[in-house]
């Protein structure tokens, strides 16, 4: 056991999927030419004023309700003041003392299968900043303000995670949740979902927090894990060699796989937060909260619990199948078509289908193999028209050619042999051809049973019903 305990808290920034910005009417679409989606409000022109986007509020309330948090009946927008070229007004409008969401929790499943509850301190609305561009500009820096004013929800956890794995599990869970709620597209490459990790270590058993470092702006699950692992090792090594961790902001460099100092606490800005006088306090009526609550979808944990109860799945399988709303919907569409086979459906969706999609880098919602098509295949396994082994062959043909299972089975003559007489004839022929093996088997070499199974299958091109074959062989081989 390590002498050190890791303490991690995450601040996740999720861009809200509104069509327009949080305080202006400019579009939020990603990828437009620089500064084509920044209006005068986003540019911080003299005289302009912010007007709050009601849709961003609705999304934040959705999130708060989904994590069982309190929705503030009154929350306040504040200005966070600092100078930076991609921050046009010289301040970011955020929420400080009175956030819209406070005190929720998110459950994660640990590697041993146990569930751990991570507290969410708060979640607040704020505007994103623009971007500084360096590529292709020589010694100059370009500013793209398309992102300026994009709505964000910043989700702040309690420092309750104890390993990089837990942090990743938490981040994935939040990622799942925001997509379930349809409040964030979750696109990490485009920066729609990113996090800052606060990391510290302390002697195992201590109840004091160590000095933390904040690793800024990590935009992949893998980098979160690696950055935290690196940072934990760095801090332990530093302390063990007599040094002290300093409170600072660090950046993760994925190319070098290390974190490095960005600025120390002493260099940190004094943000001079104060309530934004251009915006009135945000008042939320109880009736509004109930309307939003009524519109919530079934959430991942509830769905997973239902899958366990309704379909008899393991908690693990239910967790995997509910990791995204699309995956869960696909699974349930398959089950609706083959209601007697929920486990078979789970195995195929998580197994062959997932592998095939993964190989081509596709998502479940790509429409590559419709749920009814997979269900058509599973129906033939269920009614014993084909064996599981043959089914894999049919699946590959379906994947390659797009034809339905029945057509492929018919065309390739893969229909399973369930006629006892036919299987018996095949067994007899194999026994006749292999007298030596038969003698050895009868002399006690039980392992040769498999040999006979293989020979019969070969003779029937794999079409013999495996269960029947087993039974018949057990009867015939002993003589």
């Amino acid at each position: 056991m390590s002498a050190w305990e890791t303490v991690i808290g995450l601040e996740i920034h999720a861009q809200l999927a509104t069509r327009s910005k949080i305080f202006s009417g400019a579009a939020t679409a990603y990828g437009a030419a620089p500064n084509t989606q920044a209006c005068l409000v986003d540019l911080g022109y003299p005289g302009v004023l912010p007007v709050l986007n009601a849709e961003a509020v609705r999304m934040a309330v959705r999130f708060g309700l989904a994590i069982g948090a309190r929705i503030a009946r009154q929350s306040v927008f504040a200005r966070k003041n600092y100078f930076y070229p991609d921050l046009p007004k010289g301040y970011q409008i955020s929420q400080y003392e009175l956030p819209i969401v406070a005190g929720g929790a998110i459950d994660i499943v640990l590697e041993d299968g146990s569930v751990k509850r991570i507290g969410v301190t708060r979640a607040h609305l704020e505007e994103d900043a623009g971007k500084s561009l360096h590529e292709g500009l020589g010694s100059l820096t370009g500013i793209d303000l398309n992102r300026a004013g994009t709505p964000l929800i910043e989700i702040v956890s309690e420092p309750e995670m104890r390993s990089a794995r837990e942090a990743v599990a938490y981040m994935k869970k939040v990622h799942t949740l925001v997509r379930y709620l349809e409040i964030c597209d979750g696109n990490m490459q485009e920066g729609s979902f990113r996090c800052d990790a606060n990391v510290s270590v302390r002697p195992a058993g201590s109840d004091q927090f160590g000095t933390r470092a904040e690793i800024k702006n990590i935009n992949s699950f893998r980098y979160v894990e690696k950055a935290i692992q690196y940072e934990v090792a760095r801090q332990i090594e530093l302390i063990e060699s007599g040094g002290k961790v300093v409170q600072e902001t660090r950046l993760y460099d994925p190319d070098k796989g290390e974190t490095r100092s960005m600025r120390s606490k002493e260099e940190a800005n004094d943000y001079r937060y104060f309530p934004d006088p251009d915006l009135l306090p945000l008042e939320i009526e109880a009736a509004y909260i109930e309307t939003v609550r009524a519109g919530l979808p079934e959430l991942p944990d509830a769905k997973a619990a239902r899958f366990v109860g309704q379909y008899g799945l393991s908690a693990y399988d239910a967790g995997v199948l509910t990791a995204s709303r699309d995956l869960a919907e696909y699974y349930e569409a398959v089950v609706r078509a083959v209601p007697e086979q929920p486990k078979l459906a789970a195995n195929w969706v998580m197994g062959d289908l997932a592998a095939a999609l993964n190989k081509e880098g596709l998502e479940i919602d790509s429409g590559r193999l419709p749920a009814e098509a997979l269900a058509g295949l599973l129906a033939r396994i269920a009614d014993q028209t084909i064996s599981g082994k043959i089914a894999k062959e049919v699946f590959e043909a379906m994947w390659a050619g797009g034809e339905r299972a029945d057509a492929i089975i018919e065309a390739k003559g893969l229909k399973q042999i369930t006629d006892t007489g036919a299987i018996e004839r095949a067994i007899e022929a194999v026994m006749a051809k292999n007298p030596a093996q038969l003698a050895d088997y009868r002399a006690g070499k039980d392992k040769l049973f498999g040999f006979f199974v293989g020979q019969v299958m070969k003779a029937t091109q794999g079409k013999a019903n495996p269960a029947q074959l087993n039974e018949l062989l057990k009867k015939k081989l002993p003589g």
Partner: protein
């Protein structure tokens, strides 16, 4: 003489086709041109554009169309953004800034048919009480050009007082409409916070700034305000309440109206001659049937210190956008980002603006926020409470607008505190968000004196009624400085 007519009369004459807008515009432009070397009331004069607008107004009027102010010449304080015409805010920082859009106030007056003759000088970013902080030089008082016109709307006030314009827009953050109105002997109204949209009005202190009017009479101010006021979805702090028809029914009898004289305004700083004029004005109201009593608003003495925490705090943040990156003054040959910020801002802002940015930055800093900013906000609530209680007893509050009449140029520039104390009677209305006016009520040693009238939230009509009724009995508001008569 055209220029001695009120806006009300001019609007009627235009509609009756007794005079054309082009004639009016030419006459006022000539006065502006002649006065400019003396008064320096304008930062920009838009003669060509004004004539084109006047011709259009005349065509509309000839066709029986045109809004309530069709063809009437006006001017805008140079912090209202005007598309295509530079908006300087009295600062080097925005010396060459041309806004791509019209402020809501500008757009509404345009829609009412008003013709804009130019942009009016002001204290830099509306920070000042004498118009001496303008990058474009001080404005002079038409009554005595050795004196200041007051500030920050000094250009608007001087222009109306000298009848270079029948009326002008202005803004009031701590007295910037009322104090220059008093110093220049004209009528000014600062509406309730939220009554007039702040969209396109370059911000000094967002929670205190309010657009309003400087005019020759309450009736003229009512006509302007009717066009300017109203909810604006682009200003979250503007209030969605119907706008009364302010000019209609002006001059209702004052019988039964309860007036409170604010005891705290009669402090030792008040010039005795000034006080005499104010008391005479109050006697007129009594004669008209109003009752008068003294009322105490005990927290008013705290208003100046509270204001000089809140206003600089907001300004320090509001003015952060002037960084030389996207618009405004940019220093030459910046070495790096820090150098760009430092030199652009050092060169672009004047001393008073810098003083307030530094004060504001200080009071918001970690460790000082509670002691200054939060405490000032608490004082603000106390002052608002004082007004609320007072308006439980009386309908209107009255008192002097300023402690003294206009002072000499340069007299207070060395000591910011004496300058700040000039706003001692006006600031509380901004802190409480209530509407307030200044109305000419006499002369102290030959200089105009202002009577301040304050009402509860959204009682603009009550203020205008009272002021108009008073102006029917007196002629102080008709006095014009001899030189500009």
């Amino acid at each position: 003489m055209i220029h001695r007519q009120t806006l009300t009369q001019l609007a009627a004459d235009l509609r009756a086709r007794k005079v054309s807008s082009v004639e009016l515009v030419r006459a006022f432009l000539a006065r502006i041109e002649a006065s400019q070397p003396v008064l320096n009331a304008f930062v920009s004069v838009t003669a060509e554009q004004a004539l084109a607008e006047a011709e259009a107004a005349d065509r509309a009027l000839a066709a029986g169309r045109g809004g309530a102010l069709a063809g009437v010449p006006i001017g805008h304080k140079d912090l209202f953004c005007t598309a295509g015409v530079r908006t300087t805010c009295g600062s080097r920082m925005l010396e060459n800034f041309v806004s791509p859009y019209d402020a809501t106030v500008v757009a509404r007056l345009k829609a009412a048919g008003a013709v804009v003759l130019g942009k009016l000088n002001m204290d830099e970013f509306a920070m000042g009480s004498s118009n001496e902080t303008s990058y474009f030089g001080p404005v002079r008082n038409p009554w005595n050009t050795e004196l200041v016109p007051g500030g920050s709307s000094g250009g608007s006030a001087a222009a109306v007082a000298a009848r270079l314009l029948p009326a002008a827009t202005a803004t009031d953050t701590g007295g910037s409409i009322r104090q220059p109105a008093a110093f220049c002997g004209i009528t000014g109204i600062k509406p309730t916070y939220g009554r007039v949209s702040r969209y396109g009005m370059i911000a000094f202190a967002s929670s205190l700034d309010q657009g309003g009017v400087l005019a020759a009479s309450a009736e003229d101010a009512a006509r302007m305000l009717r066009e300017m006021a109203g909810f604006d979805p682009r200003d979250s702090t503007s209030v969605d309440a119907p706008v009364p028809d302010y000019p209609a029914g002006l001059g209702e009898p004052l019988a039964g109206v309860r007036i409170g004289l604010v005891r705290e305004f009669l402090d030792k700083g008040l010039d005795p001659e000034y006080e005499r004029c104010v008391r005479e004005a109050l006697a007129v109201f009594e004669r008209l049937g109003a009752s008068l009593r003294e009322v105490s608003l005990p927290n008013i003495p705290l208003s100046v210190p509270a204001y000089y925490v809140v206003a600089p705090a907001e300004c320090s943040s509001n003015l952060a956008r002037y960084d030389g990156v996207r618009f405004g003054h940019r220093c030459a040959d910046a070495r790096d980002l820090q150098d760009l910020y430092k030199r652009s801002r050092s060169e672009g802002f004047g001393a008073e603006v810098k003083r307030r940015i530094m004060t504001g930055t200080y009071v918001l800093s970690a460790g000082y926020y509670d002691a200054y900013y939060l405490k000032a906000q608490r004082v603000r609530r106390l002052i608002a409470g004082d007004f609320e209680r007072a308006f439980g007893e009386v309908d209107l509050l009255m008192g002097p607008t300023t402690p003294t009449a206009a002072f000499a140029l340069g007299a207070k520039t060395a000591d910011p505190i004496t300058m700040y104390l000039n706003d001692i009677y006006t600031i509380s209305a901004n802190l409480a968000g209530v509407p307030a006016m200044s109305v000419p009520c006499g002369f102290a040693a030959g200089l105009p004196v202002g009577l301040q009238i304050i009402g509860p939230h959204f009682a603009e009509q009550r203020l205008l009624h009272a002021a108009h009724r008073y102006q029917l009995e007196t002629d102080w508001h008709r006095r014009i400085p001899e030189r500009f008569a």
